[in-house]
């Protein structure tokens, strides 16, 4: 018997208006730590959001651990981009981490103690236990990112989807995040992260998916993360730009 992959996507296509952002992507996320890599605008975040149903897909099918999302939602954690929320919001770091447990509690009244404890433990895991009562706007960018990571951890999920967890963070936070990711994998959990820093892919991740709207390569970092594949993924964009330039030149000439 084969074990279903943490995430499997088949023939997924997503478009914003006329422009396809994710084009016929078929991919099985392996176990462990996986990076989704590609140039800006390659549809990396869109792919992640589409698997969670946050943006509508035109076609395709998504399975988590072999089942539809609705059946296994409590096993899937999510870390959105830090820039996607308003950090002036009147909430403390602890408030934000507690949100991870909302599906497990009543919709009103105080947060039950065990959930509050779980949230505090998650904050401690990212080195933020001293900032639980701090309003989130008074944290540094790296600290805010750690609060988001703590929230994803507090979901206690088997697979965590992360959108740019290392975006604009300080070196200390980057190390703290790497440690947390390795702990997760050591406990048998899986992580799929959108990642933008090509240089750190081999250090941080075991597998990689190279996309630029469509899939260019995927597999273990040692096999798939080659110069040829990277060039093809990033070059496709350049080729498109070249075409546009040619057309512009033709338009000028005529």
């Amino acid at each position: 018997m084969t074990i279903a992959p943490p995430l499997s996507v088949s023939h997924l296509t997503v478009a914003y208006g006329e422009r396809p952002a994710v084009w016929d992507v078929t991919w099985n996320a392996p176990t462990g730590l996986t990076a989704i890599v590609g140039p800006n605008g390659a549809g990396k975040s869109t792919l992640l959001k589409a698997t969670l149903g946050l943006v509508p897909a035109l076609s395709g099918e998504v399975r988590f651990f072999g089942r539809p999302l609705e059946e296994v939602r409590d096993r899937i954690g999510y870390l959105p981009q830090r820039a996607s929320v308003d950090w002036d919001f009147p909430a403390t770091a602890l408030d934000v981490v507690c949100m991870a447990r909302y599906p497990r509690m009543r919709w009103w009244g105080p947060v039950p103690r065990r959930h509050r404890d779980a949230a505090r433990a998650a904050l401690a895991q990212v080195g933020m236990e001293g900032f639980a009562e701090r309003q989130i706007g008074k944290l540094s960018g790296g600290q805010q990112q750690r609060v988001f990571l703590a929230r994803a951890l507090a979901q206690d999920a088997d697979l965590v989807l992360m959108d740019e967890p290392f975006a604009a963070v300080d070196a200390a936070t980057e190390q703290a995040i790497v440690t947390v990711l390795r702990d997760l994998v050591a406990k048998g959990r899986h992580v799929v992260a959108v990642h933008h820093d090509l240089g750190t892919v081999p250090d941080y991740f075991s597998s990689v998916l190279l996309i630029n709207a469509r899939v260019f390569a995927s597999g273990p970092v040692g096999e798939a993360f080659t110069n040829a594949n990277i060039g093809a993924t990033y070059g496709a964009r350049l080729a498109l730009l070249d075409q546009a330039n040619v057309r512009a030149a033709e338009a000028r000439a005529s």
């Binding site: 308003d86 599906p103 509690m105 979901q155």
Partner: protein
């Protein structure tokens, strides 16, 4: 001024201003936190065609049909705003501006063509409300407050405001955590499996209901002031969510109550021969509230810089 005068002339508008302020103030925080203050503006105007149609169909200004009509129009407006925004790829402000002015204009045209205008729904009342016309003719003295027959003579707008206010309070309490989450991070709410779209429409329905209940007494302009000003002022005063939301209701009630009192009863009690338009005073007070909050905050910041 006798007690009878107060009960007859001042109590109904005072209660209306208090309840409208509290209800709108409670909902205003969600709009301000979601950076959708303009939606309150839009909904308070977009409900007009629904109100006029309900009026034209039933032939009477009764609470429930108008409430239903207004909520239907409000919901349609919210759906259209989101459709236009996506289909035309407009920025939210442009979509909201286009839809609510269209709805309001349709409401005005309907008012003219259905004959609703000739009775007692007109532009002045739509914009500025009619606080001063709320009277309790049956009031004779304090004993009227416990007299069921006399109480039945209270303006029916008060009943509508009380009912809507109660429903809004119960729903906000029951959906406390989901509402917080869709204000802070709607994408995460959806990822957790919360019905975030339904919650967003539900919030819009509550705002539409509050807008129409308040609109009849205080007018659509004051509805906007009551939705936005208390919440915006608190946004500058607190960084706790509970204080923001509950404080919004308290500050809204204070805005309505104090504003009404300053317009008529207080000058009268002082023996001054001035009587101001209550809606005007409440609206002005709303602006003053936000300005004071901003000044205090700027002052606190400067003091911190100086002492640091």
């Amino acid at each position: 001024m006798t007690i009878r005068d107060f009960l007859m002339l001042d109590l109904p508008p005072l209660l209306a201003a208090l309840m409208a302020g509290a209800t709108c103030g409670l909902l205003g925080s969600f709009l301000v936190l979601r950076r959708e203050s303009l939606v309150g503006d839009a909904l308070s105007h977009a409900v007009l065609p629904g109100i006029v149609l309900a009026f034209a169909i039933t032939g009477a200004r009764s609470g429930l049909p108008m409430l239903v009509g207004a909520m239907a129009a409000g919901l349609l407006a919210v759906v259209l705003i989101s459709v236009v925004q996506r289909a035309a790829r407009l920025d939210p402000g442009a979509a909201i501006g286009a839809i609510f002015t269209t709805f309001f204009a349709i409401g005005l045209v309907l008012m003219e063509t259905t004959g609703a205008r000739s009775v007692d729904l007109d532009l002045d009342c739509v914009l500025f409300g009619q606080l001063e016309t709320l009277v309790w003719a049956q009031a004779e003295g304090l004993h009227s407050l416990v007299d069921p027959v006399a109480l039945e003579g209270l303006p029916r707008q008060l009943g509508l405001l009380a009912g809507v206010g109660l429903v809004v309070a119960v729903v906000v309490a029951a959906l406390w955590r989901p509402l917080k989450l869709i204000c802070f991070d709607p994408g995460y709410a959806a990822a957790l499996g919360m019905p975030s779209r339904a919650l967003e429409f539900g919030l819009a329905l509550l705002v539409a209901a509050a807008a129409v209940a308040a609109f009849e007494s205080v007018g659509s302009i004051l509805v906007v002031a009551m939705l936005v000003c208390p919440a915006a002022a608190l946004r500058l005063m607190t960084d706790r969510y509970g204080a923001q939301v509950l404080g919004g209701a308290a500050l809204g009630a204070a805005l309505g109550g104090v504003g009404y009192a300053l317009a008529g009863p207080v000058p009268a009690a002082l023996g001054l021969d001035i009587s101001l338009n209550a809606a005007g005073v409440i609206g002005t007070l709303g602006g003053v509230m936000v300005a004071v909050a901003a000044l205090v905050r700027a002052g606190v910041r400067r003091a911190r810089v100086v002492t640091a």
